[in-house]
Symmetry: C2
Subunit: 317 residues, 2 copies
DNA sequence: TACGCACTTGGTATCGATATCATTGGTGGT
DNA sequence: ACCACCAATGATATCGATACCAAGTGCGTA
């Protein structure tokens, strides 16, 4: 910058102002200096600016990336979330610092202006630990009182499926999933509440894994116990597919004997045989929202938790 | 740091040295100062250090995150790659700056010490543009002469499938995929070469999309044309599944009439009916390797491209 | 003429760390 | 007693940007 200043015959502070489009500088000189800077390939030194401004223009995103933990690594949605975050942040001149929970002690993270937590749903302890850093923080997941949370409306997800089953005249619905996970707990809640309004109490089959095998297994255990059921709400598409397949081998047809609804509407759902009904979440929008809220917090504006509507995609199951 | 220095009754340079474990400082004072710093919750100012050292300890990772482009957003593998990268980099005190191609002009990216490019396979122009930044750079994809590339051995992937088909006595294999994509071009090459050694020339069915529908469509067009074929190498699992399903409706059984092999060994592959044979890549290791190579380049050590072995998982198709 | 004001521009200090060179005190060899 | 040398510590300059306060213009008004 000093070099530039000398060449242009002005002081470096003027250069600084010109390059940041400050109205303090005459428009003509401003444009002249900008052109010169561009021509000479001048690159702003970010570290220097960060030091002086005491801001890093960086938001740390903490993701759980260990495979087979909370299934985060098994589907593409976190990446879409990241995409939304990244797009919104860069549009506002911020960059994304990606870390795992383990790497989050690094100095660079503590230098961030804000924090976004993804996939920490079942680890409230971890969330609290990050909160102690005192940085503006937004969490993806199920809403609670402690932090600002963005998530899709899992409770609504449960409700719409319940209403769908009611509409179909089903009287003995089953919920398959792991209610220890806060987001899934919300789905169960919505499901149970909406059914209760019709005097129906669903059965809960606890399954921790989000796999085909687990879904099939759940159906087998139901049939073994001789429990009557005519509808299954599986909290992932894979569980749902596994369930459908098992039901077929057990001699029960979908959707004639049993209705099945999955969650996430993965690309394969539409081409499953029969095409799977599923609840779709808007991940991209979720990312955008997360980013917008940290930015607001960084700018000292008040913010609050928010849930995104979900959509039931009714197909043939 | 100045405050610390005053409290401890030493100069700030001694603090600096003590905290970076410099042997220039007496071990006792060093430990005393470290304890003090920890006690007072002192946090190093990263911007200041970066400014002085003229290094950001940051590697920018540029990913393609637009959905429906190069399918990057449709499967979880890029995330696993990211996981590997992140783990290796943080282990060496570096952090990961995540950006899209669009956001990569941001100042923060140019301040990075190195660059990793993911999912830019079909955009050599973009790769070259980043190369102009003059930063140490490693690219994920198919090897070429221009840059340092890490990728799984797609050519070997093609070869092992070819040999598998030969072993099964197949004489009329078909390749389904988009050979414009460099990585897939390599698979085709390996496939063709290995078959040529047995006097066999495969048929190429060009399909750009990685969907079930596209796979089914390919089979229909083959049958319509009346071309004889007894083996299908699809360059994604979804294509393979679509193909198998179409073949069944067309009255040809898998694997009796036709052998089918997919690519990527997605979680669903094992529980597909029939269980799908597929080529598996080690994404996590790929990430580690990418990270290691940028770090080496940043440390001015020479590096070279490298390919990772793949593994054919033989199941029932 | 003198004063206040808007518009531009500049000088200097500062953000928080580290590199370079200097300084101190002690030790051992001759 | 002298010098060379090592270990430990410090003073100062510096990285590259921006904040703060000042100051030089030109213009309108009392």
């Amino acid at each position: 910058m000093a070099d530039l200043a000398e060449m242009a015959g002005v002081s470096k502070i003027t250069i600084s102002r010109a390059l940041s489009d400050s109205p303090l500088v005459n428009r003509e000189t401003r444009e002249r200096l900008q052109a010169l800077a561009h021509e000479l390939g001048y690159k702003l030194n970010v570290s220097a600016r960060n030091l002086r401004l005491r801001r890093s223009h960086t938001v740390a995103v903490i993701v759980e990336m260990k495979p087979s933990h909370d299934r985060t690594m098994l589907d593409p949605y976190p990446l879409i979330l990241l995409g939304g975050i990244s797009q919104e942040l860069t549009a506002h001149g911020y960059s994304v610092l990606l870390t795992t929970r383990q790497g989050a002690t690094a100095a660079a993270v503590q230098a961030a202006d804000g924090l976004i937590l993804l996939g920490q749903g079942s680890r409230q302890d971890a969330v609290r630990r990050f909160d102690k850093l005192g940085l503006p923080m937004v969490v993806w997941g199920a809403p609670g009182d402690e932090h600002i949370v963005v998530g899709s409306d899992n409770s609504q997800g449960g409700r719409v499926v319940a209403e769908h089953f009611i509409r179909l005249g089903r009287r003995n619905p089953v919920f398959v999933g792991n209610p220890n996970h806060p987001e899934i707990f919300e789905r169960l809640n919505g499901f149970v509440d909406a059914l209760a309004a019709h005097g129906i109490k669903p059965l809960l089959i606890r399954r921790d894994e989000f796999t085909l095998a687990s879904g099939g297994d759940a159906m087998h255990s139901l049939m073994d116990r001789g429990v009557p059921f005519d509808a299954v709400f599986a909290c992932s598409d894979l569980l749902a597919m596994g369930a459908i397949r098992a039901l077929n081998t057990l001699g029960r047809t979908v959707p004639n004997d049993v209705s099945v609804v999955g969650y996430d509407d993965m690309p394969l759902a539409a081409s499953f045989l029969p095409p799977l009904s599923s609840v779709r979440q808007d991940w991209q929008e979720g990312g955008t929202l997360l980013a917008r809220k940290v930015l607001a917090l960084i700018g000292d504006q008040p913010e609050q938790s928010e849930t995104l509507p979900v959509e039931l995609i009714v197909r043939e199951t």
